[in-house]
């Protein structure tokens, strides 16, 4: 087969703005050079290329928008690609492939309540879902947001969180594992926030994203509240290399996290030994 098409060829995008969220995490706003929207859905990821350095997967942090075409990634500096991204200046280009993977089924949630449980960088993909809901606020019921961070220094999107905390149409609770002198909020792991919330398990869906160790404890708390498994959604991190279900790196038992995930309904992974 002779073809000019290859799914491995990235499209170019330009860095529009960047904003430091903490010492290691920066928010990047990109625009595709094609002028087209990314057309992602909340929870999907893209493959980002910095030519000469490499390619890595990132969840899109902004909600899908119709009013402009830019999209946002929040990236922690940790490896070669992320360091290269942090070194970019406004106007610099990157390559992108995707969006790839499953997403949060927003239509299913219409008219229902929602509980977000975000641990650490898990807030980045959660933000895509949360802000979609806030943009279509009248379509959804009661919204509760729990955010947990290791320590106050690692908190991200603090301004935005402060802003939405003021709203009276959603409840925001924050905690840190280890406080510093200035911290006045809750102290403890994220499950310590559960006794403080009141939700209706009959009508509540859950989205939880965080470090691997967090999931089973959060799901346990949700079950205690009486939320059925088929209304608990997670997004799992794996090392997607190709994003096309071929390279094998992101396998969770027999599933490919890049195709079948990253967003899973808990019932689809409950029996899998390698999922959580």
């Amino acid at each position: 087969m002779k073809s000019d098409f290859s799914p491995y060829v990235p499209r170019s995008a330009t860095l529009v703005s960047k904003q430091e969220l903490n010492e290691l995490v920066t928010l990047f706003e990109f625009a595709q050079d094609s002028g087209k929207p990314l057309a992602h859905r909340p929870g999907q990821f893209i493959q980002v290329s910095v030519y000469g350095v490499g390619e890595a997967p990132f969840s899109v942090s902004s909600p899908p928008r119709t009013d402009h075409n830019n999209f946002e990634l929040a990236v922690r500096r940790t490896g070669s690609v992320t360091n290269a991204l942090h070194a970019l200046e406004v106007g610099a280009k990157i390559g992108i492939r995707g969006p790839y993977g499953s997403y949060f089924p927003m239509q299913k949630f219409v008219g229902q309540d929602f509980l977000f449980v975000a641990g650490g960088l898990g807030y980045i993909p959660i933000r895509s879902v949360l802000h979609y809901m806030l943009r279509h606020r009248d379509e959804f019921g009661h919204i509760t947001l729990l955010v947990g961070t290791r320590n106050p220094k690692e908190r991200i999107f603090t301004d935005q969180l402060a802003e939405i905390s003021k709203r009276n149409d959603l409840e925001v609770l924050e905690t840190v594992d280890t406080p510093d002198h200035g911290w006045k909020g809750n102290v403890g792991v994220i499950t310590t926030l559960f006794p403080k919330i009141s939700i209706n398990p009959e009508t509540t869906n859950v989205a939880t994203i965080g470090p691997p160790v967090m999931y089973r404890f959060v799901i346990q708390e949700c079950s205690k509240l009486g939320i059925p498994q088929n209304r608990i959604f997670v997004s799992l991190e794996r090392r997607m290399k190709c994003g096309l279900g071929k390279c094998g790196h992101c396998q969770i038992n027999g599933l490919n996290c890049c195709l079948d995930g990253p967003v899973f309904c808990y019932t689809d992974i409950a029996g899998l030994g390698e999922a959580l």
Binding site: M1, V9, G95, K241, K246, C247, G254, G273
Partner: protein
């Protein structure tokens, strides 16, 4: 079934003709008892009676390293690369054809792999009925002693000087007739080919799974949580990835890239990777989803015994026995692993 009878003296002439248009690879003995597919020329002696070639044929369709894009760092653009030389693999055993058939399906699934497909489309496969079975092989019990598709021609030696050649594709038939008309096989020759198959089948049956292969997914899945078993099996695993390297159905790859010294242009390539290597499932920040050797070992046997079955309806292990030979610690042996699981479960009941 269309079949022709080709006599040994005809073959060299045919090969010479084919070599004008294709790169031809044939099995040949590279060291005593070691066989490999190597480029053919008229000095190369074809090992018609080889038992197993040491490395797999996937390297011809999914090379150990392959460019996938070229990029321009100044213009920030990229273009696809598909390199697909015309090639003939002459003398492929059925279990290896089965492995390629699996790759064909897996590479087409979901998002078709254009690089693989380009190479596959330019690859002609001539099957060969084995006459010897490697001491580590157990393909007859893995439903891999016969294939119905995946070859352009299938050759069975029916006498010291003659081959019964079954046609698998129009392309194969044309190639056979490139020097002029060839003899159509008669019933006696067909019967001789059938008997040759039964003979090798009988030899292959000496070493098998102890149960029907189709029960493997269910059995291995039952043992997923038996950590003691997997820990014990993998306790001397060196995580070297040799079993991945020689496996005809392993196709996992890594993606890497390099730029030129002026940082203007570069290439991104993929290269074979292995789920037995320690960093395979590691993510940013260092968390490793299969940190222990036994978890990686289990994943490999689950993948061959169940996950691939869930996708294709057949096992991901074709019983060639290459991993058994290649394993430095002497612990890779799908036949033994699956048999032990079967024994254990049978005794429970």
């Amino acid at each position: 079934m269309i079949a022709y009878t080709i006599y040994l003296p005809q073959i060299k002439g045919l090969l010479k003709k084919w070599a004008l248009e294709l790169n031809i690879y044939v099995p040949t003995m590279v060291e005593k008892g070691f066989f490999e597919f190597r480029p053919w020329n008229d000095q190369v002696e074809i090992a018609w009676d080889y038992d197993l070639c040491y490395t797999t044929l996937k390297k011809f369709i999914l090379p150990p390293r392959e460019n996938i894009i070229f990029f321009d760092m100044k213009k920030y653009s990229a273009s696809p690369v598909t390199e697909a030389p015309k090639q003939l693999l002459f003398g492929v055993h059925p279990y290896d054809i089965k492995a390629i058939n699996q790759l064909d399906q897996l590479m087409e699934m979901d998002s078709p792999d254009v690089n693989y497909q380009a190479r596959r489309d330019n690859t002609i496969i001539f099957g060969l009925e084995p006459v010897h079975v490697a001491e580590t092989a157990f393909w007859s019990s893995m439903n891999a002693s016969k294939v119905d598709l995946g070859y352009d021609l299938y050759w069975t030696r029916i006498s010291p000087g003659a081959f019964f050649v079954q046609v698998g594709s129009a392309r194969g038939e044309e190639m056979l007739k490139v020097e002029g008309p060839v003899e159509k096989s008669n019933f006696t020759q067909k019967e001789a080919a059938r008997r040759a198959h039964l003979k090798i089948l009988a030899e292959a049956e000496k070493q098998t799974l102890k149960f029907d292969w189709s029960r493997t997914p269910e059995l291995v899945n039952k043992f997923f949580n038996n950590r003691t078993f997997w820990r014990e099996k993998a306790k001397t695993c060196l995580s070297c990835g040799s079993c991945n390297l020689v496996c005809p159905t392993c196709y996992c790859f890594d993606i890497q890239e390099e730029a030129d010294d002026l940082l203007q242009k570069g290439r991104r390539y993929r290269q074979w990777d292995g789920c037995m290597l320690r960093g395979f499932a590691e993510i940013a920040g260092g968390h490793n989803f299969r940190d222990n050797a036994w978890e990686r070992y289990r994943h490999r046997y689950m993948r061959k015994g169940k996950y691939i079955f869930d996708k294709l309806g057949e096992l991901g292990c074709i019983g060639c026995g290459r991993c058994v030979k290649a394993c430095t610690a002497g612990i890779a042996n799908p036949r033994k692993v699956y048999n032990e699981i079967w024994e254990a479960i049978k005794n429970e009941i």
